[in-house]
C-alpha cells in the first residue's frame, strides 16, 4: 500500500483540491496531518475523504511529517509519499517515483525541479538562492542532489522505519538527507513539477534552517 502524507497548516483554501487530485490519480490512501490549523483545514480534508490526524497545537512541518510516517507504518504502508498541501505539486509525478522504489530497488526518492523543464522557477530562485542552498546542503549533509528542500519525496517502509525526524521545523529535509547517507540507503532523484505560488521560503528562512540543523547536531 502506498500512503500519501500531507502536512498541512491553514490550507483550507487548497487542501480539498489537493486531495481530490490525488484520488483522481488513483492514490486512495491519503492522510492529512493538520499541524494546529486555525482554519477549517481538518474539516475540509475529512470531507474530501482523507484520513486526518490533528496535532493539538502547531509543531512544525518536520514534526507533521514524522507523525504521518508513524501513522503510515502502523497502517502497514509499504511506501510513504510526502506531498505538499498547497497544491504546488503534480500528483501525476507520484507513479514514476513509486516505480523507482518498486522496480529499481531504490529506498528513497527525492523530487527535483531541475530534471526537466516543466517548473517555471523564478529567476532569482533558480540562479541564486537554490544554487547557494544546494551547496550549503551538500556541505552539511554530504549528499549531492540537483534540488534542495523539495517537499516531494517517497520513502520505502524500510527507510521510513529508520528515519526519525527530530527537526520539527524547516531543517528536516537536510536531516532526512543526512540519515539517508548515514544508513547508506539507495536513493534516486525524480523529476517533479512545481507550480509557483507567490509565497515560499526566502533567504531568512535559509539562515534559520542552517542554524536549526547545526544546533540539532549537538543533541544527537
Amino acid at each position: 500500500m502506498v500512503l500519501v502524507v500531507i502536512p498541512a497548516l491553514n490550507e483550507a483554501e487548497r487542501i480539498g483540491r489537493v486531495i481530490r487530485g490525488l484520488f483522481q490519480h488513483g492514490w486512495a490512501n491519503v492522510v492529512v496531518v493538520d499541524d494546529g490549523s486555525t482554519d477549517e483545514t481538518a474539516v475540509l480534508a475529512r470531507e474530501a475523504g482523507a484520513k486526518v490526524i490533528v496535532h493539538p497545537f502547531n509543531l512544525g512541518q518536520g514534526a507533521a511529517l514524522q507523525t504521518g510516517n508513524d501513522w503510515a507504518l502502523t497502517q502497514g504502508a509499504e511506501m510513504i509519499v510526502h506531498f505538499d498541501a498547497d497544491g504546488q505539486f503534480n500528483p501525476a509525478d507520484i507513479s514514476g517515483g513509486v516505480e523507482k522504489i518498486k522496480k529499481d530497488g531504490f529506498e528513497v526518492v527525492f523530487g527535483s525541479r531541475f530534471l526537466d523543464e516543466r517548473s517555471k522557477i523564478p529567476w532569482l530562485k533558480k540562479w541564486v538562492i537554490l544554487p547557494v542552498a544546494r551547496f550549503v546542503n551538500w556541505i552539511l549533509t554530504g549528499v549531492k542532489l540537483s534540488d534542495v528542500h523539495n517537499g516531494f519525496r517517497i520513502l520505502s517502509r524500510q527507510a521510513a522505519k529508520k528515519i526519525n525526524i527530530t527537526q520539527n521545523e524547516m531543517a528536516h529535509p537536510s536531516e532526512i538527507m543526512t540519515i539517508v547517507r548515514e544508513q547508506g540507503f539507495k536513493y534516486a532523484e525524480h523529476p517533479v513539477e512545481v507550480i509557483y505560488l507567490e509565497f515560499g521560503q526566502g533567504i531568512g528562512w535559509g539562515v534559520k534552517i542552517v542554524k536549526d540543523f547545526i544546533f540539532g547536531k549537538f543533541l544527537r
Partner: protein, 113 residues
C-alpha cells in the same frame, strides 16, 4: 568601602539566603546548593578584597584581577546559556513526542469507531 561594594554584598547575601530556602524546600540538592554558596562567597571575597584576584590573574598571565573576573564570568554565562538552550530543545522534543502521541491515539480511536 564604596557603595557598589555594599550593594553587591547585600545582593550576594540575598542570593545565598534564596538558595538556602530552595535547599530547605528540597528544590536544590545539597551539592548544588553548596556549589552556589561557594560561588557567592568567592564573589563576596572578590568584591571586598578586589586585589585577591591578582595572584590568580598573574598565574594565568592576565594583567589585572578585574579582567580575570570578567573573563570567568563571561565563560560561565556562555556555558549556562548553552546548557539552557540544549535543555529547552530537549523539552521541545519531549513535548513533540507527547503531542504526537495524543494526535495518533485520537486518530486510532476514530478509526475503531
Amino acid at each position: 568601602m564604596m557603595l557598589i561594594q555594599i550593594l553587591l554584598i547585600l545582593f550576594f547575601c540575598f542570593a545565598i539566603f534564596k538558595s538556602v530556602m530552595r535547599w530547605k524546600r528540597g528544590e536544590l540538592k545539597l551539592t548544588q546548593a553548596f556549589g552556589w554558596w561557594i560561588f557567592w562567597l568567592i564573589a563576596g571575597v572578590v568584591v571586598v578584597v578586589p586585589n585577591s584576584t591578582y595572584y590568580f590573574a598573574r598565574l594565568l598571565g592576565i594583567g589585572r584581577g578585574a579582567d580575570l573576573v570578567v573573563y570567568l564570568a563571561l565563560a560561565l554565562l556562555s556555558y549556562l546559556v548553552f546548557r539552557q538552550s540544549v535543555r529547552m530543545e530537549k523539552i521541545n522534543r519531549q513535548i513533540t513526542q507527547l503531542a504526537r502521541k495524543v494526535a495518533l491515539d485520537e486518530a486510532t480511536k476514530e478509526e475503531k469507531k
